[in-house]
Subunit: 237 residues, 2 copies
DNA sequence: CCGATGCAAGAGCGGTGCTCTCGTTTGGGG
DNA sequence: CCCCAAACGAGAGCACCGCTCTTGCATCGG
């Protein structure tokens, strides 16, 4: 068993976790650019050189934090999804969007790590891919479940995009119409555009009631991907 | 006249420009995080300390580059707008979106400077506001011109958002219906969500034919803000 | 013409990432 | 059970960083 490892391996895991925790702490205070290996080591009471036994470089530490951040965000999104349970697909969609937003607002620096400018010179290893796609997969699932019930494509895609749409559908969601997959990918990017602008302060002096604004925008995105827009539901009664 | 200043002032302007140029050059190669004042000075054949006569700190240099980047992007967007001339509002919208995208893809590091994670600890001075809002103002203009011709609101905004919608409309575009202003602000953020994902590599292994994808998404955004979607125009004939 | 001002250079401070070396600890196979 | 290789921590050191302070020099205005 992996838990029955020797004391050495156990200590290694603990120290690694301690380093990441302290790094995350500094990240939350100063941001990624000012994350200093020496400061982490100092805070942990060890020599800076000892740290290199656990992470080959600063970038490797950052990579570990990036993966953790993706996973944390994915968990938050999935928790929001689970929390609304049997609500309408649009309600699920909006809940997931709000979960993402709240996670991002609570840890802006970790968010910046994964959805801000990439670390210069550094390209994300494929290790990050599964963690990075959790939110996207969740959004796909919501739409797919909605289509399972009553489903037909309702968008037209221009001819020039049709082969790409087919390819995307095949790779990402074989049981959804290609047009929907294209629209979904767009909505996915647009969701993070909204979150980005809010977290990075681009809405300064533009949008003030950001919570209501976001809820509305997320609802419109839901409508856009073919889910019934909650407001229009309510207005119909 | 300001142009008839002494040789001293003239030299100052030239050196300042040279510093910014060299900094931009390094930016394009290494990214903002690795921009080094010492390296800039070295390349310019001057002592690093001399550089502080022109920029009080590294952050101030970055701020200057940020303003320039905003202006450069604004100019690119306006050029795209001017280039399509009398086309339909939706055509103008898509052209501006594509102008933004192309500018961003051509200078990813400058784009990251303004739409990526903000520089840590640094908050953009209000100096940047006018330059930063150029693209937004251009999008507003396109929609306003379209409404000038035949205009009525076509979105409903939930009650909780109505006061904010009124406030936004009053401040940003008094001659547009509040609902439209809200949708427009969302589309603005979403546009940069699309560009962000492409420039920062989030579409890796998801979207391959990014040009066609973007054109389609931009067209849908145009449709979303109430402009006639070009494809549906063509399909209607 | 001379004094005030702008400017460049150098030295230096405290910090960084990272490497290399050198003792020490420790765990598993003979 | 014991011993050796592997893992580990610490320290010194390299090259670089942003930034400051002081010192001379050039230049401009009265």
């Amino acid at each position: 068993m992996s838990t029955a490892q020797g004391a050495r391996a156990r200590a290694r895991i603990e120290v690694t976790a301690a380093i990441k925790d302290e790094a995350r702490r500094q990240l939350a205070v100063e941001g990624a650019a000012k994350l200093s290996l020496r400061a982490v080591a100092r805070e942990l009471g060890m020599a800076s050189s000892a740290l290199y036994r656990y992470f080959r470089s600063r970038d490797e530490l950052l990579t570990a934090l990036i993966i953790d951040a993706y996973d944390s965000l994915g968990e938050a999104a999935e928790a929001s999804y689970a929390a609304v349970g049997g609500e309408s697909p649009a309600g699920q969609w909006v809940a997931v969007c709000e979960g993402v937003r709240e996670w991002a607002l609570a840890r802006p620096h970790e968010y910046a790590l994964i959805y801000g400018s990439p670390v210069p010179g550094y390209t994300a290893p494929d290790t990050t891919v599964p963690a990075a796609s959790r939110v996207g997969r969740l959004l796909i699932r919501i739409v797919r479940d909605a289509y399972q019930a009553k489903g037909e494509a309702q968008w037209k895609v221009p001819a020039e995009l049709r082969p790409e749409a087919r390819r995307m559908a095949e790779e990402l969601a074989p049981d959804l119409p290609p047009e929907t997959v294209v629209v979904l990918a767009g909505a996915w990017a647009q969701l993070f555009g909204l979150v980005n602008f809010e977290v990075f302060g681009q809405f300064h002096r533009v949008v003030e009631d950001r919570e209501a604004f976001f809820r509305h925008a997320a609802g419109q995105l839901a409508h856009h991907v073919g889910l019934v827009y909650p407001q229009s539901e309510a207005a119909a009664r």
